[in-house]
Amino acid sequence: MIVLSGRDLNKEYISRDRKVRPLQHVDFDLHQGEILGIVGESGSGKSTLLKVISGIEKPDSGMLYHLDKEYTGSKPEKTGKFLQMIFQDAYGSFDPKMNMEKSLKEGTASDRNEIVRVIGEVGLSEDLLDRRPRHLSGGQCQRMSIARALLSHADVLLCDEITSALDVTTQAQVIKLLMEIRDMENVSIILVSHDLALVSMICDRIMVMKDGVVVEEGKTEDVINKPSDEYTRKLLNSIIAV
């Protein structure tokens, strides 16, 4: 079953009289319960794609569907009912003036017991609920944002470089958590990362973007073992070289 899909998405920015086209005829499908990895070098349009999917930005053309229902042009206030974002900047994901309990309560009708249960599920203890973001570690903040996403009962998580601001051990823990909740809560995940090694390890399918174009898309093994595109091969070689 396909949870989320996009067809022929286009997005263009004009900055200082120069046209940038971070999305050009982009198609994607996100299957129920899968982790879809999106890789590509800086500026290839990965974040723009997530912004368009979540309704933060409107596509210039193209269609978006959630469970076969079109939602193109819906604002985040609407899309938030079925999708949530986890950001690279874990600290910045929470209002610095609010404690965690207030932040988590914002989008959910759940009571404190339910909140405590969910933050337990992401590996956090109840006493952290009284703290403000700057009194948490980066990893704890990132777990909190995953908890917030789960509390809103979204079935899709959009993750943009969610581990790149964390240290290596914490990175591994957050990724492990992501895989666990995928299994437990049956959510579907889009994971944007420049880290091809990470993506190839945990994603079911991979999409490779270059200059706003999807140059390759397929099952992880296929993309890694027999890349059909020259650019993907170059990306793969660059990690092997490292």
Binding site: G80, G92, S93, G107, T108, R148, S152
Partner: protein, 241 residues
């Protein structure tokens, strides 16, 4: 309440008395106790200053948040208006407006407020712009919060501090403004006690009874210095943090 004598009681036998034990600051041209008038005047000057700064602050922060958050044509128009206001010296605008409104404390406050909100609006707008793309704002939108809710619960609390500190630093200038307009006869009018109008009245006979000018003038200067110093201190403290 604090005043030792009735600030409005005239006494023809006590005209322009030098400071004494009974009248610490002396008396004025009508035999009124200068100390009592300075004390009662403090209430007028300080209370109207605070009220004016508070109202301008509220209007400014709301307009600034709306402009910063929504942008677009309303932002363009309001910010051009603000630019226009800032292009003229505040006191010049205030004198012109107060003149048109024909004096009185209310008129003076409107005259000063017309330009004062702009500085709060600009500051609130720039701080709103700097936080509106923070992930927590996007997160709140994804939690289903409307623009208005986001402004009240997330933006306001996060921009309040710098704008409030700016308000504190404006108290001194505002006080000069109110006293200045009153001095020019465009603000508080006789016989109500207000520092600016007291100075204005008494300067006619400054050579005979300098205390009638000196004490309200000193009170004005000291208060302004204190508030400016307070504003700077808070600002320094914030920077050091």
């Amino acid at each position: 309440m604090l005043a030792p004598n009735d600030p409005y009681a005239t006494n023809s036998s006590l005209i322009r008395q030098a400071p004494s034990a009974a009248y610490l600051f002396g008396t004025d041209n009508l035999g009124r106790c200068v100390l009592s008038r300075v004390l009662v005047g403090a209430r007028t000057t300080i209370a109207s200053t605070f009220f004016l700064v508070a109202v301008s602050f509220l209007i400014g922060i709301i307009i600034g948040m709306l402009c910063g958050f929504y942008g677009g044509i309303v932002d363009d128009i309001l910010m051009r208006v603000a630019d226009l206001m800032l292009a003229f010296p505040q006191m010049v605008v205030a004198i012109a407006v107060a003149g048109i409104l024909g004096g009185g404390l209310g008129g003076a406050m409107i005259a000063l407020g017309i330009t004062m909100w702009t500085s709060f609006a600009r500051l609130a707008r720039s701080h709103t712009l700097s936080i509106k793309n923070e992930p927590y704002i996007t997160a709140a939108r994804l939690q289903g919060k409307s623009g208005l809710q986001i402004m009240m619960t997330h933006i306001m609390p996060n921009i309040l501090e710098p704008v409030l500190i700016n308000a504190l630093t404006q108290i001194g200038t505002t006080m000069i403004g109110i006293s200045g307009l009153s001095f020019l006869g465009l603000g508080v009018v006789a016989p109500q006690a207000e520092w600016g109008s007291m100075i204005s009245e008494a300067r006619a006979y400054i050579q005979i009874a300098p205390w009638a000018v000196l004490f309200p003038a000193a009170a004005t200067v000291i208060t302004i210095v204190v508030f400016n110093y307070l504003g700077d201190a808070v600002m320094e403290y914030r920077k050091a943090e």
